[in-house]
């Protein structure tokens, strides 16, 4: 997916936590991305939000609105490639902290679905059932599985 993304990404050596800096009208805002294993082995929750430089805490409800949401999402997608390269066959579960954010993610997935599907199986959760992701359907959550290259 050749979208603009932030080039300078830091990661820990387990490739579970990433940091990059969003730049825009609101200045430089550090973002944190974390892949945390759920209670199902091999299934990881993806979460990302603004990192508070002063407290090192995460603020996952703030709307920083740095006018770069697509670039931020493209950078998060890049971390998914890095993470799944290290964790073959894993699932990534993702949802927004609010319905509006979940919808934003859905729009991003829809926009680049054909490219994403080259490398990932993409599922959407609707009414407590997983289905293959389709455009135009409101989902509550998303699940990605990196395809194995033959």
């Amino acid at each position: 997916m050749k979208l603009p993304r932030y080039a300078l990404i830091k990661a820990d050596d387990t490739f579970s936590v990433y940091e990059f800096v969003s730049e825009g009208p609101r200045g430089k805002i550090p973002k944190l991305v974390k892949y945390a294993e759920t209670n199902i082995p091999g299934v990881f929750n993806l979460a990302f939000e603004d990192k508070d430089e002063n407290t090192n805490e995460i603020n996952d409800l703030v709307v920083s609105n740095n006018r770069d949401s697509e670039k931020v999402l493209a950078t998060v997608v890049a971390t998914a490639y890095a993470f799944t390269q290290q964790h073959s066959g894993c699932y990534i579960y993702a949802t927004g902290s609010t319905k509006a954010r979940t919808r934003l993610y859905r729009m991003g997935i829809s926009k680049y679905l054909e490219e994403i599907k080259i490398d990932f199986e993409v599922y959407g959760l609707k009414e407590d059932q997983w289905q293959l992701f389709e455009k135009g359907i409101e989902y509550d959550a998303f699940l990605f599985q990196r395809l194995k290259k033959m």
Binding site: M1, K2, R5, A7, L8, I9, K10, A11, D12, D13, T14, F15, S16, V17, Y18, E19, L32, K34, A36, T38, N39, I40, V43, N45, A47, E49, N56, E57, I58, D60, T75, A78, T79, Y81, A82, Q85, Y91, Y93, T95, S97, K117, D119, E121, V122, Y123, L125, D128, Q129, W130, Q131, L132, D140, A141, L143
Partner: protein, 54 residues
């Protein structure tokens, strides 16, 4: 391959910063993880038969 080309690939070049490891242990995003566990316990994973036609 130039660095610029490397970083245009889908898998990015990342710089390792192990100061980020503290966030593995810290309960950041804990609520989201708890919620994810709640949902996954209820709905499970998609059946293996549910794969896109390729």
């Amino acid at each position: 391959m130039k660095f610029k080309d490397l970083n245009n690939q889908k898998t990015p070049v990342v710089s390792i910063d192990n100061s980020l490891k503290k966030f593995i242990e810290l309960p950041v995003f804990q609520e989201k993880l708890d919620k994810a566990n709640e949902v996954l316990e209820k709905v499970g994973l998609p059946p293996k038969s549910l794969k896109a036609q390729r």
